[in-house]
C-alpha cells in the first residue's frame, strides 16, 4: 500500500524526466520534471528536519497554487508530518481560528499578502517556530526572527542532508498508509470551520479507484487552478496527480485563469458549478452579442438536436478551442449542484462532463456519474454511483450517509464533533438530502436547507434556484419561503453578460449597481422568472412552488460578509439575515425598497416585482 512519499519515489524511478508540474509565471510556463520536483522536495524536507519538524507535526500551507507550496506539502508528508492547506486570501481573523486549532509548527506562505495576515497572529501562535516564505519581495525587509525564505530553508536542508544523509529516507520509510496526510478545514455552508483529518490511505484508495474507473494515464494535462484548501482540489489536483504522475499546470493569476486554461488545454478537468457556469455564460453572451444569429441558432440546434458534423467543425470545435476545452477526455463538476441547462450545454458541446459528489470528510470523492460519452442529457440531480469500496445509505429523513476507505479519521482536536459526524459503525452523515436506488445517488439539497411553507408543504429552494440560474444573465439566486405561505427570490445578475447585453442595446450604466436597477434589466430578469413559473405550473412539482415575488439586487453576494463560502456556495442564513429588510418588504407586498448607506443616504431604489 502506498503513501504520498512512496508515490513520489515511484515517479522518480519510472518517469524522472516526465514533466510533473508547470507554473505560469512572468508570462511563460516553467516546467519541473519529477526529478526536479523530488530534488526540491528533498532539500525542503531536510530543511524542515533541520529546523525540528517531527512526524505528526502540522505545517500550515497558505497561498495560491505555486510549485513551492506543492513541494512544501510533499516535504511535510515525507517527514510524516501533516500539511494543513489554508486559503490564500484569508485575513488574520479567518486564519486565527484555523492556525490556533491545528497548532501549526511551521507556516509556509507564498508572499507578502499572506505574511501580512500571519504576522499579527505570531504572539498567539505559541507552537509556531518558523514562517517560510516563497516570494521574497517585500518580506525580506521584515524584521521578524521566525521568518525564513524558502531558498534559505532549502539551503539549511542541504547542509542538514550532508550531515544526516539518511534521515529523510528513514522518515519516509516510517510513513504508513494510516499516517495523517492532510488536515482539511471545511468552510461549510453553515458553522465555523472544522479540520477534517485524513490519512494517506483515505486519499489514495479512493484516488486509485477513481483513476482506474475513469482510465487516467500519466499523459494527462491538468489545470490546477483550484486552491488546495479545498478537499476537491486535494483530491483532483493532488491525489490523482501523485497517483498517476501526469502534468499539472498552475495559472499565473486569478485574472488570467481563463486564458491560462486555454493555453494548457487540459485533458482532464474538475470544477465547481460556478466555473462551468461562467464559461457557459460567456459563450452564450458572446454568441448573443455577435451580429449574425448563426451561432445562437447553432447553439440552440445543438442543445435540441445534438451536433452535426459541419456544426462541430465550424462552430463547436472552435468554441471549445477558445476556452481550452478541445482536448478534454472527461470533465467533472462537483461541490454543489450544477444547473441542468449548463450540464446539458457542455455535453452537447462535446465535453464529456460528469457530475461527482464528495466532501472533505470523504477525501473529496464519493461518487461519479456513469454516463455514456455521447449521451446528451441525464436525469436531474444524479451524482452517479459510489466508487469502489464506498457504501451509501439514506436515512428516514432522507439524509445521505457514506462509509468506505475514504472515511476521515475525525475532526482535529474535536472529539465531540467527530462523534456527531461519524457513528460507531463508521457511517458519516453528509448533511445532504438525497435518494439512493439502483446504485445511483441523487442529491437534492442540504438538510438544513429544506424548507416548508406555513401550510406544511415542503419545498426545496435549490431546485428553483438552479432552474433560474440556467439563464446566463443570472449569477445567483436565493429563494426564501420558510414558514411563509409563498416564496420570494433575491436575484443577483451576472455583471459580465448583462453588461454585454446592455452594451448591445446601448443602455448606459457605470457598474453593476446601476445596471441592476435599469428597467430594461429588471424586465429581462422578469421574463426568466415568468418562464420558470409557467414551466413549474405546467409540470406541477410539489417540491417546486412558483415564485410569487422577487427583486434584482444591486450587488453580488459577498464572500467577505460571509454570504458565500470561498468556493462560492451560498450561505442561506447569512444572506437571510443581511437582507432581512428586503425580504420583509417583499413579503409585505411593497412595490419598492430604498437601499441606504451607513449614513442613511439613499443609494438606490430596488424594484420589488410580483410575478
Amino acid at each position: 500500500m502506498e503513501t504520498f512519499p512512496s508515490l513520489l519515489q515511484q515517479h522518480i524511478t519510472q518517469r524522472a524526466s516526465h514533466t510533473a508540474l508547470r507554473m505560469k509565471r512572468y508570462g511563460i510556463w516553467n516546467a519541473y520534471s519529477w526529478q526536479e520536483v523530488s530534488t526540491e522536495v528533498a532539500a525542503l524536507a531536510n530543511g524542515f528536519a533541520a529546523k525540528g519538524l517531527q512526524a505528526g507535526d502540522r505545517v500550515a500551507v497558505i497561498g495560491n497554487n505555486v510549485p513551492q507550496l506543492f513541494f512544501a506539502i510533499m516535504a511535510t508528508q515525507s517527514l510524516g508530518a501533516v500539511p494543513v492547506p489554508l486559503h490564500a486570501d484569508s485575513n488574520s481573523e479567518e486564519l486565527r481560528g484555523m492556525l490556533v486549532n491545528c497548532e501549526a509548527k511551521f507556516v509556509v506562505l507564498q508572499d507578502q499578502q499572506q505574511a501580512d495576515s500571519v504576522m499579527p497572529l505570531l504572539a498567539e501562535l505559541l507552537t509556531l517556530t518558523q514562517v517560510v516564505y516563497v516570494d521574497t519581495r517585500g518580506i525580506e525587509n521584515y524584521k521578524v526572527e521566525q521568518l525564513i525564505s524558502f531558498a534559505d530553508m532549502q539551503k539549511a536542508g542541504e547542509a542538514f542532508a550532508s550531515q544526516n544523509p539518511n534521515h529523510l529516507q528513514q522518515a519516509i520509510a516510517q510513513v504508513t498508509p494510516d499516517t495523517d496526510a492532510f488536515i482539511v478545514y471545511t468552510s461549510g455552508t453553515s458553522g465555523a470551520p472544522r479540520g477534517a483529518v485524513l490519512s494517506h490511505s483515505n486519499f489514495l484508495t479512493i484516488g486509485q479507484a477513481f483513476a482506474e474507473q475513469e482510465k487516467l494515464g500519466d499523459e494527462e494535462e491538468v489545470f490546477a487552478y483550484l486552491p488546495l484548501s479545498y478537499s476537491s482540489a486535494l483530491f483532483y489536483g493532488y491525489t490523482l496527480w501523485m497517483i498517476k504522475g501526469y502534468t499539472i499546470n498552475c495559472p499565473e493569476s486569478n485574472e488570467t485563469t481563463m486564458s491560462d486554461m486555454r493555453e494548457v488545454g487540459p485533458t482532464f478537468l474538475y470544477g465547481p458549478p460556478h466555473f462551468f457556469k461562467t464559461i457557459y455564460s460567456q459563450i452564450n453572451s458572446r454568441a448573443a452579442s455577435s451580429k449574425s444569429k448563426m451561432i445562437d441558432k447553432h447553439l440552440d440546434g445543438m442543445m435540441s438536436k445534438g451536433r452535426t458534423w459541419l456544426g462541430s467543425k465550424l462552430v463547436f470545435d472552435p468554441i471549445k478551442d477558445l476556452y481550452g476545452l478541445s482536448r478534454i477526455k472527461s470533465a467533472y463538476v462537483g461541490g454543489d449542484m450544477v444547473s441542468n441547462e449548463v450540464f446539458h450545454f457542455f455535453r452537447a458541446l462535446g465535453v464529456n462532463l460528469k457530475t461527482t459528489y464528495g466532501s472533505a470528510e470523504s477525501a473529496g470523492c464519493i461518487s461519479v456519474q456513469e454516463i455514456t460519452e455521447d449521451a446528451l442529457t441525464a436525469e436531474e440531480n444524479v451524482v452517479g454511483a459510489p466508487l469502489r469500496g464506498v457504501d451509501i445509505k439514506v436515512s428516514d429523513n432522507q439524509e445521505i450517509s457514506f462509509k468506505g476507505p475514504n472515511t476521515f479519521k475525525g475532526y482535529y482536536g474535536d472529539v465531540a464533533q467527530s462523534g456527531q459526524a461519524k457513528d460507531a459503525e463508521g457511517w458519516v452523515k453528509t448533511g445532504d438530502i438525497g435518494e439512493f436506488a439502483n446504485n445511483t445517488l441523487k442529491v437534492l439539497e442540504r438538510v438544513d436547507c429544506k424548507s416548508s411553507f406555513s401550510t406544511g408543504a415542503d419545498f426545496i429552494p435549490k431546485q428553483i434556484e438552479n432552474a433560474l440560474k440556467a439563464s446566463p444573465y443570472i449569477k445567483d439566486v436565493v429563494v426564501v419561503g420558510e414558514q411563509r405561505d409563498h416564496s420570494v427570490a433575491l436575484i443577483v445578475i451576472d455583471g459580465d453578460t448583462v453588461g454585454a447585453w446592455a452594451d448591445m442595446r446601448q443602455i448606459q450604466f457605470t457598474g453593476l449597481r446601476e445596471l441592476a436597477t435599469k428597467t430594461e434589466v429588471v424586465e429581462l430578469i422578469s421574463e426568466r422568472v415568468r418562464d420558470l413559473n409557467t414551466k413549474i405550473t405546467q409540470v406541477g412539482g410539489s417540491n417546486c412552488p412558483p415564485i410569487k415575488r422577487y427583486t434584482v439586487l444591486n450587488r453580488e453576494f459577498s464572500v467577505a460578509a460571509g454570504e458565500m463560502t470561498r468556493s462560492r456556495k451560498i450561505r442561506r442564513q447569512v444572506i437571510g439575515t443581511n437582507n432581512a429588510k428586503i425580504i420583509e418588504a417583499l413579503f409585505a407586498g411593497e412595490p419598492t425598497f430604498d437601499v441606504t448607506d451607513s449614513a442613511g443616504e439613499l443609494v438606490a431604489q430596488l424594484r420589488l416585482e410580483t410575478a
Binding site: Y26, G27, N141, S253, E255
Partner: protein, 261 residues
C-alpha cells in the same frame, strides 16, 4: 518619520525661477527632498507643480537657480541625463507610447541598460537576444508587482485610464530609478484604483527604497502616505514640512480654503 537633520538630501532645489514668455510660472523656489522619503508637492491648479517636476528632470530649463541631485549640481538639467542619473517620471496626462503593448512600454523603460547596437538587433545576434531575455525577466517582475499579467500583450491605447496610469508607473519603475517623480498618479481614478495606486507607491518606496516626489490633489492620500509635504501657490512656496505641520500652516489654509482664485 525622522527629523530632517539626520537625513541626507537626495535633491536640492535652490532659488528656482521659471517663466514662459515673461509669464512667471515658478518664483524663487527652494526645497530639499530627502533620501528615501515620500514627498508630496501640493497646491491649487496653476500653482506651478507640474512645471516644478518638469524643471527637476530637465524638460523645462529654469531661468535661474540650481538643482542638485545625488550630490551633483546643475544649472541646466537635461531629460536624458536626468534619466541616466536615476530620475524616473510619470506624467499628468498619461504619456505612454500608445502604439505599443504594455510589455513593450515597460521594456522601453529599460532602454538605458541595453547595450546592443542595431546591427546586433537586426541580425538578432550577440547581445541582442540575451539582453532582451534578461530585461524581459526584470520587466515581468514589475508586471507581476503591478498585477498587469492579464494585459501584458494588450496595446496600451485600449486600456482603461486607471490601468494606463499603472503601466506608466511600471515604465518608470523599469529603469530602477533612485527617485520617482509622479505627476498626479491618482487623478481621475476610482476609489479602489486610488487605494491600489497608493499601495503601489508605498511599496515601491519601502521595498526598493525609491525616493518619491508626487503631485496629488487628494488630501486624504497625501496625508496618508507622505513623509514630507511642499505647498506651492502662484508659483511660490508657501509651506514645507511634515504633513500635519503643513496642514496647520495659516498660509496653506488660506490658499486652500480662504482665498478663492
Amino acid at each position: 518619520m525622522n527629523s530632517p537633520d539626520n537625513k541626507k538630501s537626495i535633491l536640492v532645489l535652490k532659488d528656482i525661477s521659471l517663466s514662459f514668455k515673461g509669464v512667471k510660472a515658478i518664483t524663487d523656489i527652494s526645497f530639499n527632498v530627502y533620501e528615501g522619503e515620500i514627498c508630496s508637492v501640493i497646491g491649487p491648479n496653476g500653482a506651478g507643480k507640474s512645471s516644478m517636476l518638469n524643471v527637476i528632470n530637465g524638460v523645462y530649463i529654469p531661468q535661474e537657480g540650481t538643482i542638485s541631485f545625488d550630490g551633483k549640481e546643475f544649472t541646466k538639467m537635461k531629460p536624458h541625463s536626468a534619466a541616466v542619473m536615476g530620475i524616473g517620471r510619470t506624467f499628468q496626462n498619461i504619456a505612454l507610447f500608445s502604439g505599443m503593448s504594455v510589455l513593450d512600454n515597460i521594456m522601453s523603460g529599460r532602454n538605458l541598460m541595453m547595450k546592443a547596437n542595431f546591427w546586433e538587433h537586426a541580425l538578432n545576434i550577440g547581445r541582442a537576444e540575451k539582453e532582451e531575455l534578461e530585461h524581459r525577466q526584470a520587466v515581468e517582475e514589475i508586471i507581476e508587482f503591478l498585477g498587469l499579467q492579464s494585459i501584458r500583450k494588450t496595446p496600451v491605447a485600449s486600456l482603461a485610464y486607471g490601468l494606463q496610469k499603472r503601466v506608466e508607473l511600471g515604465r518608470a519603475l523599469a529603469a530602477k530609478p533612485k527617485m520617482l517623480l509622479l505627476d498626479e498618479p491618482m487623478a481621475g481614478m476610482t476609489m479602489e484604483e486610488k487605494l491600489d495606486m497608493s499601495c503601489f507607491i508605498q511599496e515601491i518606496n519601502r521595498n526598493y527604497g525609491t525616493t518619491i516626489v508626487l503631485i496629488e490633489h487628494d488630501m486624504g492620500v497625501v496625508m496618508d502616505i507622505s513623509d514630507h509635504v511642499v505647498v506651492l501657490d502662484y508659483g511660490k512656496k508657501i509651506g514645507d514640512g511634515a504633513p500635519d505641520e503643513v496642514m496647520n500652516n495659516q498660509d496653506v489654509i488660506d490658499a486652500y480654503l480662504g482665498v478663492s482664485h
